[in-house]
């Protein structure tokens, strides 16, 4: 039973790890993350790596959609900017220290975020979504152009460098995992902190009632732009990790498909919550893979059966999303909350 956490001062009341299940849960999760790669296959690491990267990006999207209430269907573009910046830096200076590249990619993506954010002062909701979606197409179009091909590889895509830390090249997926996960954890903590201070609160205020935020002294335009910049920066960092993680990148990786997947992850997990992106990403990225494994086990990998297996998988995945929206519109986090509410009251109430 986890009832009754009494605090003696206000700063304790403000803490995020305010009770022992949260603290120990975190420790357990971190230990789990640390030992996972020693027990997992390359394939599991591939998925874990992708999930880690996506969590960073979805957290970024959460800043924008979940906390600031600005819609975007174009975050694949920031992903692309981060990834291609990393490639370009290594193209020009092959030996750049990966963290520096990561930071530069993040900053470049943030700059693009500011650019993308400009319409947000005038445009809201769906119109903003389509404006960002358009920007996504335009960015990819630019990446595919021949005059940038030296850095981007054009339509054909380009091979990506491996990160080299003090002479150790991260080649194996296990090694890459240990690059991705700390970055992910730090960026999650950063976001979590952001939303319990002045800055984050201002963003939430804009989401809930923008004019009301304005009369409290929150400069709407500047904060909206900052929100775009932060969310783009997260995606840029994810893009940079992506470039280090995958041996090659293609422009079409970062198209509408990715942008929509990011949003779907966020919604499935729960918007405006730190845990939302984590839950959502794990669910949305793992379900199709699990469906594949299940299908393979049922059909034994038989080629002919693939003609109906893969469409069926698509249908199931789509139905899952719709089912979520109908039955759990607040996302997985809501289930999680209910679970904890139940636990903290048990056995006194249901």
């Amino acid at each position: 039973m986890i009832t009754g956490h009494f605090k003696t001062d206000y700063s304790a009341d403000e803490g995020i790890w305010s009770n022992w299940p949260k603290r120990w849960g975190l420790v357990a999760a971190l230990i789990g993350l640390a030992i996972f790669p020693f027990m997992a296959s390359n394939y599991a690491l591939l998925l874990a790596g992708q999930i880690g990267i996506f969590i960073v990006a979805v957290t970024g999207l959460n800043v924008l959609i979940g906390y600031t209430g600005l819609m975007s269907l174009g975050h694949g573009a920031f992903f692309a900017v981060g990834a291609y910046t990393t490639v370009a830096i290594h193209h020009e200076w092959p030996l750049t220290f990966p963290l520096i590249t990561l930071v530069i990619s993040t900053v470049v993506a943030a700059a693009f975020g500011v650019l993308f954010g400009l319409p947000s002062l005038r445009v809201k909701g769906l119109y903003l979504a389509v404006a960002t979606l358009s920007a996504n197409f335009i960015i990819l179009f630019l990446i595919e152009q021949d005059w940038l091909a030296e850095w981007t590889g054009g339509v054909r895509g380009t091979e990506t460098p491996n990160a080299v830390f003090f002479g150790i090249e991260l080649v194996s997926q296990q090694a890459k995992y240990f690059f991705i996960m700390p970055v992910m954890v730090l960026m999650l903590l950063f976001a979590q902190n952001l939303f319990r201070t002045r800055f984050g609160r201002a963003l939430i205020a804009i989401r809930d009632k923008d004019y009301s935020a304005e009369i409290l002294g929150i400069a709407l335009f500047s904060y909206k732009l900052k929100s775009f910049a932060i969310s783009a920066a997260y995606c840029g960092a994810a893009g940079s990790l992506w470039a280090y993680f995958f041996p090659a990148i293609l422009p079409e990786d970062f198209g509408l498909n990715m942008s929509i997947t990011l949003v779907v992850c966020l919604v499935a997990g729960g918007m405006g919550r730190t845990l939302g992106p984590i839950f959502g990403t794990i669910l949305i990225l793992l379900v199709p893979e699990m469906l594949k494994v299940v299908a393979a086990a049922i059909t034994g990998g038989d080629a002919t059966s693939q003609t109906w297996v893969s469409p069926t998988r698509d249908i199931l995945f789509g139905l899952m999303i719709i089912g979520f929206l109908i039955f759990e519109p607040m996302g997985l986090v809501n289930i999680w909350d209910r679970f904890w509410r139940f636990m903290s009251r048990w056995p006194f109430a249901k």
Binding site: R122, A131, A135, F137, P311, D314, L319, I322, L325, I326
Partner: protein, 334 residues
């Protein structure tokens, strides 16, 4: 100059198809406040249904022969030995195709209507009262469902379907330039614009039109005044699915039948927002504009640029007019 007009014509023709697709998105949005991201896939189904009825079913064993190819004596006499691609031959072959074209159209309209009703009932209705965001995302989920289902039913083969109208090149001279267009495209243009216009007239001048407009303005009030709002929702989905079926048939006969039709519908979303989500007239203007601009871009800048024209255009328009050409601004009372 002549070239310019040539590409104008091409642009208007593709613009009319865009308008027909956009029509469905606007109709659903106006009535239900749902932006249907899956409209392209509704069109895809329309196209596949058209194919199923006009090609697969018409060749089925139990169908009378005249459906597959209607070949009365007078038609043979008319066709004579007209050269391939000549107007005469094209008309003759169209007439002999007519039974299966009609079968295809009727079948596609009916089947797509049923599909839309199922979607409306099973997916959209339970989401009533949920946020607009949830509804939109459920249409995104629908994309997967529809795409998968199409793959399951039709095994994704690229097929040819008969054009709605006789197809022969029309040539004429303007400003010392040879211009041309396909008669089939002209038929498509007329069909698209007729559908568009008749829908506008119905909305404007009939009692049902009043009910739909009332629902569009204020769902719950309309509901409380005795208008069967769920039926209006269904009607809107019916309008979207039937116009979508026609659009699908047109797209399939113009550019070939393939799953890409679904994604094409997504790019129309940009056009719709450019015109203003809730304005038929604005969307018509935007469709024509995008059609013409894409065509011009194709001419001067090549295919790659033409692809992103709708997106650049919508970005520019939205920045200047945040609710599109003729969209209603939501007034926020402070």
């Amino acid at each position: 100059m002549g070239q310019f007009i040539q590409y104008m014509i091409n642009g208007v023709i593709s613009g009319s198809v865009l308008a027909l697709i956009a029509l469905g998105i606007v109709a659903v949005f106006k009535a239900t406040k749902v932006v249907n991201f899956a409209h392209g896939h509704l069109i895809l189904f329309g196209a596949y249904f058209y194919f199923t009825f006009s090609v697969v079913l018409s060749e089925a064993a139990f169908m009378p022969d005249w459906i597959r190819s209607w070949d009365p004596a007078w038609l043979q006499a008319y066709a004579g030995d007209a050269a391939m691609f000549s107007p005469k031959a094209a008309i003759a072959s169209w007439v002999s195709d007519l039974p299966r074209i009609l079968l295809g159209l009727i079948g596609a309209l009916a089947a797509n209507a049923v599909l839309a009703l199922i979607i409306e009932r099973l997916v959209m209705r339970p989401l009533l009262g949920q946020s607009a965001f949830a509804m939109i995302l459920s249409t995104v989920g629908l994309i997967w469902v529809l795409e998968g289902s199409a793959g399951l039913i039709w095994t994704a083969e690229a097929e040819q379907v008969p054009a709605l109208g006789p197809n022969f090149p029309i040539r004429f001279e303007l400003f010392d330039q040879n211009l041309f267009l396909f008669s089939g495209s002209l038929v498509n243009l007329v069909v698209a614009l007729l559908l568009f216009a008749s829908l506008m007239l119905v909305l404007r001048y009939t009692r049902s039109g009043v009910a739909i407009r009332a629902t569009a303005e204020d769902q719950s009030t309309a509901y409380a005044m005795g208008i069967n709002v769920p039926r209006v929702f269904s009607t809107a989905w019916l309008v979207a699915s039937t116009t979508g079926a026609v659009a699908g048939a047109i797209l399939a006969s113009r550019n070939g039948l393939s799953p890409a039709i679904g994604l094409f519908g997504l790019s129309v979303l940009a056009v719709v927002l450019m015109g203003g989500l809730d304005s038929f007239a604005g969307v018509l203007i935007a469709s024509m504009l995008v059609g013409i601009l894409s065509s011009m871009a194709q001419w001067k800048l090549g295919g790659g640029v033409a692809e992103i024209v709708p997106y650049v255009a919508v970005l520019v328009v939205i920045l200047i007019r945040p609710h599109g050409f003729m969209g209603q601004e939501e007034i926020e009372r402070i």
